[in-house]
């Protein structure tokens, strides 16, 4: 904002404040006099935690975490600031206006990784590296993860949970019907295509997919598979050329995979696509490991009713995304926020939260026995595999870059652009963010 702009804002705000004072309808029940000091002030001993975990397993996870928090910090009262809707988009809008006007919550949820860039650039969140020392998190989290969270030697958030993006889910019955061996593994995408062809021949959907973000999710795993983990990571720091023939080949693979998908994809969200595998309408689905909850919800057993494996060509790589908590600049109750962050990083907190939510702890010292069968395999991979950052879930790029990539992907998959212009739009999108 220009200074002039700020001044106009100020005048308008002052006028608005005066108006509110004049009109009776502006009165509130929060004890706030409607002045310009900006928002609710937390009394000491309260911590407002801003999340988009308002329903489902996410809410269960939050509840479990709060329980741990209450036993560890009985003197601090948890205040739920959850705002749901559209994977946090509504929450982010509201959060941004609060941060902008210096009325931050005590701590807020954000995807760990590059998505924090905007908050960092806007000087809205604090460096919490010293809390990593204080809570002894540096040793507890895997080194790969720490390096992915570090920006200019500083770390700005504490992850609460980890999800794996590069997973394939499949219905063994559909595979058998297509004459395929359900236990077969596919080392590359090229090995996978004949299997998809075989399913195609039976008239079922080979690969189910949903709306644009799931297509970006597929794109990211294809890039990872075709380019390998190093070149994939290079896409986000500028060391891999988006215009290279290797990327062209990867996008051709993506185009080919999209040709195996259901036509009503744009009208669906991920549970619908996963449901097609559960119902036996589709053979495969590429989705993050939260999909396991959908199978369990439907009463399905791993191995017999559904199978899972890393996206072909990505075995040994853990494409991660994480939720994390931050310390906003000017948090009303910074000590309360630190208490919350302590709980989030603690073994007890991570175990309770992830058991309920279905994700895995960021800590490597959690006892796998506390977790479900799938989670146990994920815990092993997370400890052993190379870790890369997810594009579709905010770990790899700032929001603006992801939005531009999403737009280009939707344009391509809906037939609005050809492969060459898709590639150049992706290159432009990635270039704009760095």
């Amino acid at each position: 904002m220009t200074r002039k702009h700020t001044r106009i804002m100020g005048v308008v705000a002052a006028l608005a404040a005066a108006t509110l004072a004049l009109s009776s309808c502006g009165s509130d029940d929060g004890g706030n006099d409607g002045g310009t000091d900006g928002g609710t002030s937390n009394s000491a001993g309260q911590v407002e935690v801003f999340t988009w975990w308002a329903s489902g397993s996410e809410k269960l996870g939050l509840d479990a975490l709060v329980e741990v928090f209450n036993t560890r910090h009985p003197d601090v009262e948890f205040v739920n600031g959850a705002v749901a809707g559209g994977a946090g988009s509504a929450a982010k809008d509201l959060l941004q206006s609060r941060l902008q006007t210096n009325d931050p919550p005590d701590t807020f949820q954000a995807h760990a990784g590059a998505e924090l860039t905007d908050y960092i650039n806007a000087a809205q969140i604090e460096d919490v590296s010293d809390l990593y020392e204080e809570f002894e998190l540096t040793e507890a989290f895997p080194e790969d993860l720490i390096s992915r969270l570090t920006v200019d030697d500083k770390i700005y958030s504490i992850p609460s949970n980890i999800h794996r993006a590069n997973m394939t889910w499949a219905n063994p019955t559909v595979l058998t019907e297509a004459g395929l061996d359900p236990t077969a593994t596919y080392a590359t995408l090229d090995e996978w295509f004949p299997a998809l062809d075989a399913v195609q021949a039976t008239g079922k959907t080979p690969l189910s997919i949903a709306t644009t973000w799931t297509q970006v999710h597929l794109l990211e795993t294809v890039l990872l598979s075709a380019l390998g983990d190093e070149a994939y990571s290079g896409l986000w720091d500028g060391t891999t050329d988006w215009n290279s023939p290797e990327v062209t080949a990867a996008l051709e693979d993506f185009e080919k995979l999209m040709s195996y998908t259901n036509t009503d994809r744009d009208g669906l969200d991920w549970p619908d696509a996963t449901q097609q595998v559960i119902d036996g309408q589709a053979a495969f689905n590429v989705m993050g490991d939260w999909a396991v909850a959908a199978f369990e919800e439907a009463g399905q057993e791993a191995e017999t009713d559904f199978i899972y494996f890393p996206v072909p060509g990505t075995d040994g790589v853990f494409d991660f995304l994480a939720d994390s908590f931050t310390l906003p600049v000017g948090a009303p109750n910074a000590d309360g926020a630190k208490a919350w962050l302590e709980t989030v990083g603690s073994l007890e907190g991570q175990t309770a939260f992830n058991q309920a939510k279905g994700s895995i702890p960021a800590r490597t010292d959690a006892d796998p026995a506390d977790f479900s069968e799938y989670q146990q395999t994920a815990i092993t991979s997370f400890a052993d595999d190379t870790i890369v950052s997810s594009l579709a879930h905010g770990a790899a790029t700032p929001v603006a870059t992801l939005n531009a990539i999403t737009d280009a992907t939707s344009k391509f998959t809906s037939g609005g652009s050809d492969l060459a212009s898709f590639q150049s739009e992706l290159a432009a999108a990635a270039g704009s963010g760095s």
Binding site: H5, T19, L99, D118, A122, G203, N262
Partner: protein, 300 residues
């Protein structure tokens, strides 16, 4: 002087709260918004004011209007508006015309046609998403399935998934919601025509068609104009619908309001503000002549 004040002072005082709040919350905010759109607040730091932004003139507008994607959005908006206008006017007029003549249970039909107005798109979007499913043939769902069931299979199509005209399908729920309203308008218009006029027409031996052509339609002119203005400007607000039926990221159904939403989430406040201003200009072009026309009428 004092007498003059006694004459116009009290009414002005009475209306001043409204003038002040509207001055701030409509005109003031529009000014702030335009101001933002002329700066380079295109990234997080400058959008939120932690770094100073500078005046860049119409750069943001030039970039938007020059981009192929934004042109696609504008084209979609025009197409949507046309379909929405034609649809609501056609259904609204037809229903009003059917109900104008004496009908048993008129109130029943009227209520049914009018009720979709009471339902928010957040509520009806849940079901429209199912109905406008693009699957056809064997795996058809939603309306496509219904068409098969009632023997109208040839009507199946992929609805809003068509890259060129898909946006027209998004107008269907909007037509569903607002045709009843246009009906109420036309019905009021029909009923407002004095009986003597019709009788006079009949006495002169005019056929039913001529009666409509020369007596009734001209009388409906003002109502039709109002309906066009209102429906037309509402089409700029297709946002709720697209949010609840397709998804903001879908290229097929992009309109400027959706672009703005995405730009805002990218922390590109300057371009987002520019989209807002472009929408305002479009509305202005449509509405201001109408308001001036109204203003003149009001005076005469």
């Amino acid at each position: 002087m004092f007498r003059k004040f006694r004459h116009w002072g009290p009414p002005l005082l009475l209306i001043s709260p409204t003038l002040i709040v509207l001055g701030i919350f409509v005109y003031g905010l529009i000014a702030v918004n335009i101001n933002t759109s002329l700066t380079d607040a295109n990234d997080a730091a400058r959008s939120v004011g932690s770094e100073p932004s500078t005046f860049v003139g119409l750069d943001n507008y030039a970039e938007l209007l020059g981009s192929q994607d934004f042109q696609h959005s504008l084209r979609n908006l025009v197409l949507y508006t046309v379909v929405f206008l034609v649809g609501t006017m056609a259904f609204g007029f037809l229903w009003a015309w059917l109900l104008d003549r004496p009908v048993r249970f008129e109130g029943f039909y009227r209520s049914i046609y009018l009720f979709p107005m009471a339902v928010s798109f957040i509520a009806s979007g849940v079901v429209w998403r199912w109905l406008l499913n693009s699957n056809q043939g064997e795996s058809a769902l939603g309306l496509n399935r219904l068409f098969q069931m009632v023997g109208l299979g040839f009507l199946q199509n992929n609805w809003w998934n068509n890259i060129n005209v898909g946006i027209a399908a998004i107008a269907i729920p909007a037509i569903w919601q607002l045709s009843g309203y246009v009906m109420a308008l036309f019905l009021a218009g029909f009923r407002g025509i004095p009986d003597e006029l019709r009788e006079a027409g009949r006495m002169d031996g005019a056929s039913e068609w001529k009666l409509y052509r020369f007596v009734i339609f001209p009388q409906l002119g003002p109502v039709a104009l109002a309906a066009v203005i209102i429906i037309g400007h509402m089409s700029l607000k297709a946002f709720d619908l697209i949010m609840s039926i397709s998804k903001p990221a879908n290229y097929q159904t992009k309109v400027p309001a959706v672009d703005m939403y995405i730009l805002k989430s990218s922390f590109d406040y300057a371009s987002a503000a520019a989209v807002g201003t472009i929408l305002l200009v479009i509305v202005g072009v449509l509405v201001v002549p109408y308001l001036i026309h109204n203003h003149r009428e009001g005076r005469s």
